[in-house]
Symmetry: C2
């Protein structure tokens, strides 16, 4: 029987983990971002669709493209973050199904011929993949600061002008500096969030 | 500087983790489901909104209510799973904001007065919370089998007749029996999923 991770590991990924607003000056290497992908990519998606896409924004030019999309209170911390991950989805994700889900040869057409199913699958599963990215980053010792406070239309226009990819949410990434952490928010009681049936 | 988890921990939550279709006969206790909530609840959500709700389906009666919603190929494994988590969202999640995000007294009304923002926030963040639940289950040694193959309208009618909560996706949970695992699917190459900018 598989055992629980030890308490230090549970602390690192959930119990003591925090949303970071500040990071050290240490850069995040190409190699580390590759390791991050090679970890979060294994999180499950519906029929192995993997609609999530990520733009890792590090250059000054790309940061400048992103800036006008940010809500004012997110500008300073995001411009200072070593990496900003734009978690997006590929609206044509189903074109990869022949290689990614070969067991079902009809899978591509099932999505390609059903715009509602495709859109639901892309948004839901890219969100799952963004959550895997957050936990995978923490598991590698990185700190994450996810945000929804931005204008997705501005990001889409600046980064995805052909309309095929669409932004879902943003995650600042780097080596955490806890001096920027806010007081931790509470969580709902079990009874307010969960029903046993 | 925070270090990466050891390779056994990375294996357990991502690298060697699998979607399970079969579970041992060992039940999943109330205490374990409480531990699971007390782990995944710490995953971050936008403005600490925590819109995700979960129904842990274990009883024969509740399983019977769920059955008509399942796609035929998901019926047998789901009926046999010790627990089925219905990952849902509370459309009125913002009513908890005065206690969950007291720093911003306007947060409740910002969502209450903007149906589009509320719906996006509820669906996106309940998906994130479902992903945290999957990883938290693995971190505790449980096995997870997430599914989108069901009719949400039938689940909503059976479990949420007042319309306040809405189903997002399902996760079978139990102690894993790897004999039911399918061959592992591939993953997209870094270049097909990630852009460096």
């Amino acid at each position: 029987m598989t055992k629980a991770l030890d308490s230090a590991a549970l602390d690192q990924i959930f119990l003591a983990a925090r949303t970071f607003n500040k990071f050290t000056a240490e850069p995040v290497s190409d190699n580390m971002l590759q390791q991050l992908y090679d970890l979060y990519k294994w999180g499950p998606t519906s029929l192995n669709t993997q609609p999530g896409r990520v733009v890792f924004v590090r250059s000054a030019e790309a940061k400048q493209k992103l800036m006008p999309a940010l809500m004012p209170n997110n500008v300073e911390k995001t411009m200072a973050a070593p990496v900003v991950a734009i978690v997006a989805y590929d609206t044509a994700f189903f074109e990869h199904m022949p290689t990614q889900f070969p067991a079902n040869p009809g899978a591509r057409d099932m999505f390609a011929n059903n715009a509602g199913l495709s859109a639901d699958t892309a948004t839901r599963n890219s969100a799952l993949q963004g959550a895997y990215l957050i936990i995978a980053a923490r598991a590698l010792g990185l700190a994450a600061g996810p945000m929804s406070g931005f204008n997705p239309a501005v990001v889409n226009e600046a980064f995805f002008p052909d309309g095929c990819w669409k932004a879902n949410f943003l995650i600042n990434l780097g080596w955490g500096d806890p001096s920027g952490n806010r007081p931790r928010g509470p969580r709902l009681a079990f009874e307010d969030s969960v029903v046993m049936a």
